[in-house]
Symmetry: C3
Subunit: 134 residues, 3 copies
């Protein structure tokens, strides 16, 4: 089955949507297979990360914001805003797709793993994620 998940973000940062993916996997009735998530943008990414302690996510965001700084004199692609070129670089470093095994109708995630959309634009937006289970 394939479906679309829309996620409305309101600013930069990690947005968890594990429960929504898990529900749809169960509803698909598929016993064993692959769940693929694919974000249709180049300024947001998908990530598996710790879902327990919010401080770990905050540190991760702050660390990447420092590594990929805004207003770097290296940038020439600046017309779309100071956060646009950093967003493309962050997307290249963290990735567009996730592949998660489905076993016995459940996502085979570890105890502390959650599924996150990482919004890299300051204003956020309505993000489209394609979900395919087979």
């Amino acid at each position: 089955m394939n479906q679309r998940i829309y996620i409305q973000t309101r600013g930069q940062g990690l947005h968890e949507f594990t429960a929504e993916v898990a529900d749809r996997v169960r509803q698909s009735g598929i016993e064993e297979g692959l769940c693929t998530l694919f974000v249709q943008h180049t300024s947001a990414s998908l990530l598996i990360q710790e879902n327990a302690d919010p401080s770990a996510r905050r540190d991760l965001e702050n660390w990447l914001n420092r590594l990929v700084a805004e207003n770097d004199p290296l940038y020439t692609h600046t017309l779309e805003g100071a956060d646009d070129m950093p967003a493309h670089i962050k997307s290249a470093l963290t990735g567009t797709a996730l592949t998660i095994p489905v076993i016995d109708r459940h996502l085979a995630l570890g105890t502390w793993q959650g599924i996150f959309l990482w919004e890299h634009r300051r204003r956020g937006g309505r993000r489209s994620v394609v979900m395919l289970v087979r």
Copy 2:
């Protein structure tokens, strides 16, 4: 179906081959599934990135070249050239495989997304990408 795509690169940088992948997906006749691309080298990578403005790609290349510099005194693996160890690191950071959903015989790419091989060696080469659609 599985096929091989060979890409001849002539130096470092992002080489788009979206149209070739899209054509082969259509020709496969597969309605719904996964298109997997896998580069068989450790000094080139595969990437989904913005395909509209070349300045975004140039900035991305320059940014990564600065982060993963040549002639870093940290390197001991230097026999294969000053660009070899940086190539392995860049490959580790940006990845070897892409997974793209196929829906209604089309790649489910967003409007601004293109598929790129990222050559990390200065001399380039004939790069082999395995393509599997199922």
Copy 3:
């Protein structure tokens, strides 16, 4: 088929397990398909990298250890040890899953490509990798 691969690590670094994956692929009897590997932790990652020269792997480890330093004053998530937050960041940069095409019952790896678990915690641990071939 789906199986679990357990890897006991004794400290930080790249741990190759290509042969084990290749054997299981052959034993599965699957002619053509996808081999997916998924690590169920957020402080270890999976990587395709050069398997020939150990100096390349050592440089890669040292380079990433320098980029993602311990005891960075930026970190607030420090209760689980000085290596915990760097481990989460390294995992985000290098990834949780690998997808490798299977063709004629063999992994379609390039000549110099190996499959590695990258342990990011100093003490190591028993790492669980889900393997699915379809």
